[in-house]
Point group: C2
């Protein structure tokens, strides 16, 4: 059987893209349905064009992800640069980290790709620089400053990864909400032997219905308290 031929004359219009539109639609896909939803075919359909056209703008999927992340990190950077800024550099660091974390709460997929490639992702480097500039106001060695910023980014990424893993599709469908999902885990934990798992029993009520932002803020504050101590303030 002969293959169907494409008839150019009365076919559909050709689509006209741009780097901007490609990234915007890619981010929209990621926002709407998570990382696994961003495929070249889905993106092409959204753009009203062909699959191969996207490859004119990006070399491969990794670069697509990198550019998409950089695209939204740009807005986060703008938010961070718009922060008032006060007397205490540690407080400023705290505000910056919280702004970054808020953005990841809104876009859980960010956590997985953020800070992967500072080569293409120029905005990540600028964000890194902005955090570091606050440490310049502290009495620290260069090595301590380097480690301090790495630690803060590590706390953000660590919490974000914990948060970014997609719930097992019952809660994504809305059939089960997050609290009930957490409650099931909590219930399973409560049924463990208290002799073998004293700590789990101690904190199970805290775990049940806990807030991710609280958890992150606490972790961040521990690091910042350590930093304050190190800076001798």
């Amino acid at each position: 059987m002969a293959h169907l031929q494409h008839r150019p004359g009365q076919g559909r219009r050709r689509a006209s893209h741009s780097m901007e539109s490609v990234l915007t639609e890619a981010v929209a896909l990621l926002d709407e349905a998570g990382a696994h939803a961003l495929t070249f075919r889905a993106l092409a359909q959204r753009l009203g064009g062909g699959v191969a056209s996207i490859y004119w703008y990006v070399a491969n999927k990794e670069e697509l992800l990198d550019r998409a992340t950089d695209h939204v990190i740009g807005k986060v950077l703008a938010d961070i640069e718009a922060l008032p800024g006060g007397d205490d550099p540690v407080d400023d660091l705290r505000a910056m980290a919280l702004t970054l974390f808020d953005a990841i709460v809104d876009r859980p997929w960010l956590g997985a790709y953020f800070m992967r490639n500072t080569d293409v992702q120029g905005n990540s480097l600028r964000l890194y620089e902005r955090l570091g500039q606050q440490t310049l106001r502290l009495d620290l060695s260069a090595r301590q400053r380097f480690h301090a910023v790495s630690a803060i980014v590590g706390v953000v990424v660590g919490s974000a990864v914990d948060m970014g893993q997609e719930p097992p599709k019952e809660v994504l469908d809305g059939a089960v909400d997050r609290d009930e999902f957490l409650g099931r885990y909590a219930q399973a934990w409560r049924e463990l032997d208290p002799g073998d798992f004293p700590f789990v029993h101690e904190i199970v009520d805290e775990f049940d219905g806990h807030d991710d932002v609280d958890q992150f803020r606490s972790a961040l504050d521990l690091t910042l308290a350590g930093l304050r101590l190190q800076a001798g303030a």
Copy 2:
């Protein structure tokens, strides 16, 4: 053309697996060539059997990954339980976290999958419990204990993720070693405008040729210092 028929008589022997052998070979694949090397076909070939046989032991790839990580976390847990243990609970926490991190240094793929599903991964839960038991020796509220352990795990995961991303295959082939890879980044950073990037210039020498373990230890110590402060010790 007719398909070739499988002749059972003089064909090769049937393979005989076990949960143990499946996980062992899966871990071996992960160790040898990273996460992308673990495919059902590669694993089946290693086991000398068919692809579908693996599905008798695990429901899907996610469960395979979960069980594989749990398999090696079991050894880490044994190492941690074998730790001497001293007067200071914070020091013990430090030793535990370092043991865990060492295991991730040996197996970078661990960082990405560790602590994803405590349902199947019973050893992760036990590890979590072990960390938590140290906080029971500190003067903290239940919520503070919960947040403390989350923070420590967050620091480990945050550093591990930073470390776990596969280098761009030049260093994996051995054509370029890690120091040279870091050096290229450092060089690019040095060429940035010092007015726009004062912090990057401040720490570029620290970044160049830095040690991941040092970086992790510093981040961990900041968190632990904050924890000590919180416990009022």
